[in-house]
């Protein structure tokens, strides 16, 4: 009966308990809880993210030419505007929306915990996230591998020096069934595919596993490393077959950020997608001065899945999209 929740009431209790623990964790550290807007005038330019949009019938606006507003894919831009305004350390628990398929690990609206720590770099934040994981999941301390170390360990190839052809050969050697790969022209797509098949399947089985220092071409909103310009100070957390969190030592340079957004849009055009207007408020905030900080977003639904040993995300969400 689809009017009933897909999650058991006991799982929903466990979920509430986890949220209470998270709020307590941050209260003790005096990290401020914030609640920013779910709808924004601008959205992400990332090639691989699809946002929902709606029309706002502002006073006097005719229905058909209302103002377009986008549902957030994460609260990142709004939270950075607060940081640039002197908020200090902040966290938020909110809904994020992505117009993508639903599945065992995905629902188009999901609950995200995002927090920012001025004065932290990505390693400091990884340590804090590991503490939170231990608190919620009673697991052991997380282990850490750089992207390059992990890739070499499980594939034998160096992701930073391998060419497009080297990676295609690697796919053949490992007999991966990806017929499209031979015609692929984007090295990052091949890296992401190989990482998914050979690295992700082998890490974070018993303890949470951080992968840090992603290739600079997959930097997103992370700083490029000063020591090695081939990598960005970005990390991901994997545990029990799922990607749980993504974090950055945040890019604070407004002009570099603007340039990355413009490059995103070039890539969108190349892939036959519409350009996205750049979030001028974020750029203005960076120009005014974003404090040096690290930030991370964690999927709460997946965290609860691990805590209650759920098989699918619908076991921990009251009404997933097919019952919404």
């Amino acid at each position: 009966m689809s009017w009933r929740p897909s999650a058991s009431i006991s799982n929903l209790r466990a979920r509430a308990n986890i949220l209470a623990k998270i709020r307590n964790f941050f209260a003790e550290k005096q990290v401020l809880e914030v609640d920013t807007q779910a709808m924004s005038a601008a959205t992400v330019s990332d090639l691989h993210l699809v946002s929902f949009s709606t029309q706002f019938n502002d006073a006097g606006a005719a229905h058909q030419n209302g103002k377009t507003l986008y549902l957030q894919t994460s609260p990142e831009y709004a939270m950075k505007r607060l940081l640039a305004s002197g908020s200090g350390a902040i966290y938020q628990i909110c809904k994020a929306f992505r117009n993508e398929e639903s599945g065992r690990h995905h629902n188009p609206e999901f609950t995200m915990l995002e927090w920012y720590r001025p004065g932290f770099d990505h390693f400091d934040l990884m340590a804090e996230l590991s503490d939170l994981m231990q608190l919620i999941l009673s697991c052991e301390k997380a282990e850490s591998l750089s992207y390059q170390q992990a890739f070499i360990k499980f594939t034998g190839a160096d992701p930073l020096t391998s060419s497009l052809d080297d990676l295609k050969q690697l796919i053949l050697t490992h007999e991966l069934s990806a017929d499209w790969a031979k015609n692929e022209t984007n090295k990052d797509t091949l890296l992401q595919y190989i990482f998914m098949e050979l690295v992700e399947t082998n890490i974070g089985k018993h303890v949470p596993c951080f992968i840090y220092n992603f290739p600079a071409s997959q930097a997103a909103l992370a700083k490029i490393s000063v020591d090695d310009s081939r990598v960005a100070q970005r990390f991901e957390l994997y545990y029990q077959g799922m990607e749980l969190a993504n974090g950055f030592h945040e890019l604070t340079d407004a002009s570099e950020q603007l340039q990355r957004f413009q490059e995103d849009n070039q890539l969108r055009i190349k892939n036959g997608l519409a350009e996205k207007s750049i979030d001028e408020n974020l750029i203005a905030a960076l120009q005014s001065g974003l404090p040096e900080c690290a930030g991370v977003a964690l999927g709460i639904d997946r965290l609860v899945m691990i805590a209650v040993k759920a098989e699918t995300i619908s076991d921990v969400i009251a009404f997933p999209v097919n019952r919404a």
């Binding site: 990332d46 691989h48 993508e100 398929e101 599945g103 065992r104 995905h106 991966l176 069934s177 990806a178 017929d179 499209w180 990052d188 797509t189 992401q192 595919y193 998914m196 098949e197 997959q218 997103a220 991901e236 990607e243 993504n246 977003a297 999927g299």
Partner: protein
């Protein structure tokens, strides 16, 4: 035949993969928070019966396979083809040995089978889950033995050999589960 994008993938969709019609058994989207999404599918190749996995970049398209399933009644075998008929339209179609495969030992006149057609030609024949067939050969068993202690082999009128309880005699009609090849009961019970 139309192409299907990965976001149209779902269980039961028929695709042409490696030149062979395939049925999707399982479709999982693997979408990292940042970066390219992939669809990992488990498929059954409908001619060889092999089950394999394939991964596609999300957004890619794959050619669909013109595959349909139809319920047809088995008529007769002419030595080369097994003939089936649509009981509503009386249209007939012949399936070759490759399509009939192991199902041959369960085919009884008049039984409705599921025939899978690819571009209009039969590629597989699936018998009903339960068929009732006559025992044409078996050792005489002890009357009164109902304990089912392992049973004994019996040859049925289609040539199939199944294990039956000792009390089953030649000439009796037995009900068999074609998915497991196991005896279920005497017919009509």
């Amino acid at each position: 035949m139309a192409n299907f994008s990965t976001n149209e993938f779902k269980n039961g969709l028929k695709l042409m993969i490696d030149g062979e019609p395939c049925n999707i058994l399982d479709n999982e989207t693997v979408k990292p928070g940042k970066g390219q999404a992939f669809n990992r599918i488990k498929i059954r190749k409908l001619i060889s019966g092999k089950v394999i996995e394939k991964t596609y970049k999300s957004g890619e398209s794959v050619e669909g396979a013109d595959v349909m399933e139809t319920d047809l009644a088995y008529l007769y075998n002419d030595g080369e083809f097994w003939h089936f008929m649509n009981n509503a339209t009386f249209e007939q179609i012949g399936a070759d040995e490759k399509a009939v495969g192991d199902s041959v030992k369960w085919l009884k006149e008049g039984d409705e089978c599921v025939i899978t057609l690819w571009n209009g030609s039969p590629i597989t024949v699936t018998p009903p889950n339960f068929v009732e067939l006559e025992v044409v050969e078996t050792d005489p068993g002890l009357k009164g033995d109902t304990a089912g202690t392992g049973g004994k082999p019996a040859t049925l009128n289609t040539g199939a050999v199944v294990r039956v309880p000792l009390f089953i005699q030649i000439g009796e009609i037995v009900k068999v589960d074609t998915r497991t090849g196991e005896y279920v009961s005497r017919a009509g019970k």
